[in-house]
Amino acid sequence: ITCLVMYLFAEFDDAANLLAANPDATTISIDEPAEIPKNQHSRLQEPGREEDDELLGTDDSDKTELLAGQKKSSPFWTFDYYQTFFDVDTYQVLDRIKGSVFPVPGKNFVRLYIRSNPDLYGPFWICATLVFTIAVSGNLSNFFIHLGKPTYHYVPEFRKVSIAATTIYAYAWLVPLALWGFLMWRNSKVMNIVSYSFLEIVCVYGYSLFIYIPTAMLWIIPQRVVRWVMMVFSLCLSGSVLVMTFWPAVRDDNRRVAVATVATILLLHALLAVGCLAYFFDAPELDTPAPIIPAHNSTGTTVITKSH
């Protein structure tokens, strides 16, 4: 990866100077030269191709010199290096969460909200909350489903917390790693205008998981139809955030590769949701009324009721 960084820095020397991104060994940010590291939410991009050709106006050129010096890069073994990934305020985190729940068609989540300031606070704590929400909600829903049965003894099912934690953190970190590696590899073959750094991809995935937190809480309702409707709804919302983020990054590529990439992203996302629903939440019992089978025999009618 260090060789790749050196190569790309040689290629985009001016851009790197303007951007003053963290020139560390593990992440690179090779946005187009016009991208300015800003923390304000002032600019809205027009949909379509224009969002890639964000032109550098002359009034911003002096700002870039000022802003270029702001992000100090420390070596990765110091504490200050990691502090740069937590450089967000409360309102910024809330804005990013809002942007992941209400995706605006045509607006790219990374360009609009992250804007070269990816944070690790959101992904980490959203994943932690999701882990505990799924475990607690699953436990509660199983309790309500099996309540009243004479053979049922409540157990807290604490093992499922560690299983949930492993699954969700693996998804939120390994899938972005694979996607970033894949995008880097494609970038070396086809020059894309839009590309993301590893932390930006982690950020998008982390914030896109937020919608599953209220969904998991609503999955306590023991109705199959309700659960599947909630799942499809949240899948659409978070899937659309991911698609709108990654489609501009692959659309310059071969058509089939682009479609296959986006389809894989969505498939993995759906797999996570379906897997969580299937494993942590027991199937609700079918709510059939007890069938009454009258036995026609000579001694009289015997009513046999069958109930689960």
Binding site: F86, T90, A128, F132, Y154, V155, P156, E157
Partner: protein
């Protein structure tokens, strides 16, 4: 000093005056003398410090005593007693039982470390061990809640006892969160307070959940 080059000090002008030396410096002898005190005094002094911190947690005021003289004895005692009381639950042969001793221990200490790192990364000015100390001591209300729950469960495990346990655990959870927020809030940057308080809320929520779902055999 060129202007004073021609001034010569005569050898035979006596120098007089008074110099007052502050009479300090007998306290180092007192400090070292704790080596000679009876062991009971040493232990009682530490126990009193821990006890005073317990009182500070139960009646949280903005005092800096908890922060200044941090120690980790109290958190250790609380963590071990909470983990011990959470044993003897549905720890039958099935795997899906309650948390094991090691799991409770790891959750409390690892959770406290992660929250401390989080607050330091967001720019907090509190030191690492001070924050661990506060988070550990504020587990005290939840330990009291666990004690109450076990006593209530001795009387019965029906719906009434569940309602009582829910109210007690809920109240103690609120108390823990408010106490730790009262101690830690001042050291955070002002526009990131919510970002620091939320993980503390999650931490005590998880501990409360473990306490509430404790079911005896």
């Amino acid at each position: 000093f060129p202007g004073l080059a021609d001034v010569s000090i005569s050898q035979d002008i006596p120098v007089e005056g008074e110099i007052t030396v502050p009479v300090g410096s007998q306290s180092p002898d007192d400090d070292y003398s704790t080596l000679d005190e009876p062991v009971k005094d040493t232990i009682m002094r530490d126990l009193k410090a821990v006890g005073k911190k317990f009182v500070h947690v139960m009646y949280p005021r903005k005092s800096s005593a908890l922060l200044r003289d941090w120690d980790l004895w109290g958190p250790l005692v609380l963590c071990v007693s909470l983990a011990l009381m959470l044993q003897g639950g549905s720890a039958d042969s099935k795997d899906d039982g309650g948390p094991q001793f090691a799991e409770v221990f790891v959750i409390i200490w690892f959770g406290a470390v992660v929250i401390t790192l989080n607050s330091k990364l967001l720019g907090g000015t509190i030191s690492f061990f001070q924050s661990l100390c506060v988070l550990g001591y504020c587990v005290l209300p939840l330990t009291v809640a666990m004690l109450v729950c076990r006593l209530v469960l001795l009387a019965g495990a029906g719906t009434g006892s569940f309602v009582i346990r829910l109210i007690v655990v809920g109240a103690m959870f609120a108390w823990s969160t408010l106490a730790s927020t009262a101690f830690l809030a001042d050291s955070q940057p002002p526009n990131r307070k919510a970002l620091v308080v939320y993980p503390i809320f999650l931490f005590y929520f998880v501990i409360s959940w473990m306490i509430l779902t404790f079911t005896p055999q």
